[in-house]
Symmetry: C2
Subunit: 407 residues, 2 copies
């Protein structure tokens, strides 16, 4: 009998499977776990400051008293209670008009990105991203055979003129641009914040060009000083699909994120989300609900803001003290990350292994969009104490100095 297809089992892979690649960043996180190393790699929140004992008691009560609900299937959109509370969280983030009916709770906001790519992107469609941007988003888009095209950023975030020029170029080339994926507040990895006076301009460009903005705002509440800068979604409820997360302000291990979806798009988005996971985990939603209801969660956010500000300052001081000439970096006003840039022509990926030998781990810039940032690297200050931050930077400096002098 002739086979429908000949060849080994791997011939069964879809065309899109070829786009699903091993990410350079994975090695880094595995390596980070080695004892003795100081990891400035992972964008992990500092969970030590959560009231774990009390949270344990809350979890116990949920399972003992509401276990039939907590351990059972739930609705595909998530519980109404949590969707209402998420609207309050978004109000703190600067979005005052969110309707719980337009909130879809997902298995982390990563899953919401996946659903967005599925629902909006055909193979060959273009997604614009900040350059550099979140590696996890790149993995998601690439798995849908999307053409990911970077837009230049400067210290004030996305450059509107670059966005406009890129769109004109793509239009001329006959490309179909579907989404602008952006992290306007404390970008991962660059730490950059989109300037207030650019926000409406970016929205207007996308509206003119009929491009949906996929706004990812996990760090929005973690501005070190003053009020959070309102996200793009606060200015436009139609052109912006907003992604939120409890991973940076509460607990990533629960995998609870959400999307606030424009009314016209919500039903499709919701059905696609349901087809992926049936429903978000019931227990996890109930624990987050209890946390938002019974704990001083805004007080905890305030604590995190001051903790991360302090750590960021410590890292900046250590960089000032130890880094050789030729290395530059930004001074973030929130979030988890500082972005270091070395002289052009130095690839930080091979330096990773020298860093590990010196006892410190970072994420090479190439992870965040290919060759253009190979002379950069990301340091996270969120999860390590001040002493380790200082020691990590002290260990890193001679590795970079050697690379610069060898150039």
């Amino acid at each position: 009998m002739t086979s429908l297809m000949d060849g080994p089992l791997t011939d069964l892979f879809s065309a899109r499977a070829a786009n699903i690649k091993q990410s350079a960043v994975r090695d880094v996180f595995e390596i980070s776990m080695r004892p003795g190393l100081i990891s400035l790699a992972g964008g992990n929140p500092y969970l030590q400051s959560l009231p774990l004992e009390k949270l344990g008691a809350t979890a116990a009560a949920i399972i003992a008293e509401q276990g039939l609900e907590a351990l059972q299937y739930g609705g595909g959109q998530g519980t109404l209670e949590l969707r209402e509370q998420i609207c309050q969280v978004m109000a703190a983030e600067g979005i005052l008009d969110a309707d719980p009916d337009n909130v879809v709770i997902t298995a982390g906001s990563q899953s919401a990105q996946d659903v967005a790519a599925k629902v909006f992107c055909d193979p060959g469609d273009v997604v614009l991203v900040e350059d550099p941007t979140y590696v996890g988003a790149l993995n998601t888009f690439e798995a849908y055979q999307v053409e990911v095209i970077p837009v230049a950023v400067d210290g004030d975030g996305l450059v509107p003129e670059a966005l406009r020029a890129q769109l004109a170029r793509l239009r001329a080339a006959g490309k179909r641009v579907k989404l602008l994926y952006t992290i306007p507040n404390f970008n991962n990895p660059s730490g950059a914040m989109l300037a207030e006076d650019r926000r409406q301009v970016v929205i207007d460009i996308c509206r003119e060009e009929h491009v949906l903005i996929l706004e990812d705002n996990p760090y929005g509440l973690l501005k070190f000083d003053g009020e959070p800068l309102a996200p793009l979604r606060a200015r436009d409820s139609e052109q912006v699909l907003y992604l939120g997360s409890f991973s940076k302000i509460f607990a990533p291990g629960l995998r609870i994120g959400w999307a606030l979806v424009p009314t016209a798009l919500k039903q499709r988005f919701y059905l696609a989300s349901e087809a992926v996971t049936l429903c978000p985990p019931s227990f996890n939603q109930m624990l987050v609900s209890a946390y938002l209801r019974d704990y001083d969660w805004l007080g905890q956010v305030a604590h995190y803001r001051s903790l991360y500000r302090e750590r960021c300052e410590t890292m900046l001081e250590a960089l000032d003290e130890h880094m050789p000439a030729g290395v530059s970096w930004n001074r973030p006003s929130g979030g988890f990350f500082i972005w270091l840039t070395l002289p052009e022509g130095i690839d930080t990926y091979p330096l990773l292994h020298e860093g590990i030998e010196a006892g410190v781990v970072f994420v090479p810039g190439a992870a965040f969009t290919g060759a253009e940032h190979s002379n950069s690297l990301r340091l996270a200050f969120s999860a390590v104490n001040s002493e380790s931050i200082r020691e990590g930077v002290r260990r890193l400096a001679p590795v970079l100095a050697k690379a610069i002098s060898a150039r």
Copy 2:
């Protein structure tokens, strides 16, 4: 300025979004919640028989003592501890050669289905399914623009000759068949079990035709009497990608499932899974691990088996007593469901609303593969006590009798 695209925002939807449809079954589950109704609709496990108080204490200990791990990001493949334990669960299911390295933990086995469709199916590819089959799988495949083609089943499950004939027909039509999706043990919705002597035949056909078998086995351990029938994967580690779940033997609200992936396919599958959810929820994995380690989970499965056998018998007795002539049904040897068939020409979907007026909810057959089963319906006996089962069937009988006599 000319737009890249004209038209409303919904023009941004991908081609595949058009395939993401409202499922007929959703209404049913929402309706099921109404007070006073007896729901024979949902395939929910009977969680009342779990030791909820003790599970609460276990959850508390995990968060209080290991919270920094339980609430933090974890590895994309899932914890090694749980992957090793899952190999023990699979051993109980009849698979003795599973390697933890080939296990990928997912957000419910629904998510593993989604990843399989993503990794293996291009638009227009064919997935063969049992007719009828699980509605959630249909939703997943359709979201990838896959052509879902049914293969006939009888009381002994998939008919090998029908599978062979369907493959020949598709080959002649130039179609590319990628997957056979099958629930060989206590099929949802039909309750049918693939006969022992058909199992190797089905594998041989798929091997000859170079079709990967996607075996879904959430009910495998819930055979009422005797040993579980070994799944297809027990006979073939290369041609079968196996999906397992804790949703029917423990707690669906935790959304923990898994895939056991052939070695040649594992890396791609794993990377695709990671791109969807980053990592499965850490706390949930640790709670399942504790349950498998510190509780008599096999004793609980034995309890479930006898409980569901009793409920199934109650439902069969009630059907014998109340159902009018013209209605037939199977006598399942495990699982959650009984599949009723009415005379041809009767559509059970409109009867749903009459059922609700009479105080009982079921799932119309059309949900499980289009028009061919519109004269069938699914009853679940898993989540309701004997009294409600009897009363539910008593309420349903006159609705069906009226439809039959009106024909």
